[in-house]
């Protein structure tokens, strides 16, 4: 790809790139992958995938997005659309492995034994690791991938009430453990 072509693509909005991709322009789609690839991979890692699994799932999600790009109408952001595809794919993989159900049934909330910060507060990645796996998964699907509780329940094939409980417990733990940019969610909550 020439420098001028690259420059032209980088100057376009996501929706314009998606329109080009819908007409078969793979370079335009490549620009979308360049812009949002890291965010999708980071989300998958936060949900609980290993780095390798996250890369595989993110690749599958982008390929799947390219194949169904005509369905993207620009109503939400392209990133959130791909994140939802990736998160659902992760949930399906978990279900297929039957690991999730076993772990949820056996899940005992883990206590935080360490912290990256001497004050006892940590960043999002560390805080998520301190949650039980089901809590981490449900919180990440709802707040990271933007799925509703109902959508998350469907993706995980779990009762809605179970998902809500996991989210609630996960949120309660995160509130006390997160320290975003030196601030805490409790602090934000207080100021809100």
């Amino acid at each position: 790809m020439s420098r001028a072509e690259r420059h032209r693509l980088t100057s376009l909005h996501d929706v314009e790139l998606a329109t080009l991709a819908a007409s078969g322009d793979r370079q335009a789609f490549g620009e979308l992958v360049r812009r949002h690839g890291s965010a999708v991979r980071a989300l998958l890692r936060r949900i609980g995938a290993t780095a390798t699994e996250a890369d595989d799932l993110a690749q599958d999600a982008f390929i799947s997005a390219f194949e169904s790009i005509a369905e993207f109408r620009g109503e939400g952001t392209f990133a959130s659309w791909v994140k939802k595809i990736a998160a659902r794919a992760h949930a399906r993989r978990y279900q297929r492995d039957k690991r999730l159900r076993m772990r949820i049934e056996a899940a005992e909330p883990e206590d935080v034994g360490h912290s990256a910060d001497p004050s006892g507060r940590m960043d999002l990645d560390e805080a998520l690791k301190s949650l039980a796996e089901a809590e981490r998964l449900c919180v990440s699907l709802c707040y990271g991938a933007g799925l509703s509780h109902t959508e998350a329940a469907e993706a995980l094939n779990l009762p809605l009430g179970t998902v809500k409980s996991h989210v609630k417990r996960g949120l309660d733990k995160l509130k006390t453990r997160l320290a975003p940019d030196g601030d805490t969610l409790e602090g934000r909550r207080g100021s809100g």
Partner: protein, 128 residues
């Protein structure tokens, strides 16, 4: 839901949305593009292969059914009927049949039309 609770949720969404670029971001893009290119190439090969197989089957059927000799006979008969019909309807169209190429020109045009339709069909399949 309390306003404070919503604030907490929004803060969490913002934190999730904040993701730094991973060091191997370019390599990831290349991997996705390679997979897209492979898929594209595979689709072209599949379409081309299907076209070749279809052509071979079609050609063999034509040869097996002795179509050409029958078409030749039918062609002579239809050309005669066509000529007389057109002469009845439009006597001034004589130039078409009495020209240097005559009836062959019509068959040539029909053949070109079939080829053009084939190209259009191929293009449509590629688009799909």
């Amino acid at each position: 839901m309390a306003v404070a609770e919503l604030e907490v949720e929004r803060a969490l969404e913002r934190m999730f949305a904040r993701a730094t670029e991973l060091p191997d971001a370019d390599a990831f893009v290349n991997r996705v593009q390679r997979r897209l290119d492979r898929g594209w190439a595979a689709r072209r090969i599949l379409i081309g292969g299907a076209g070749v197989v279809g052509g071979v089957i079609g050609a063999s059927q034509l040869i097996m059914s002795n179509l050409f000799s029958r078409a030749e006979a039918a062609s002579s008969e239809s050309a005669r009927v066509l000529t007389s019909s057109v002469r009845q309807i439009a006597p001034q169209a004589d130039w078409l049949f009495n020209g240097p190429a005559g009836i062959e020109a019509i068959w040539l045009a029909a053949g070109l039309a079939v080829v053009a339709m084939g190209l259009v069909l191929t293009r449509i399949i590629e688009e799909i």
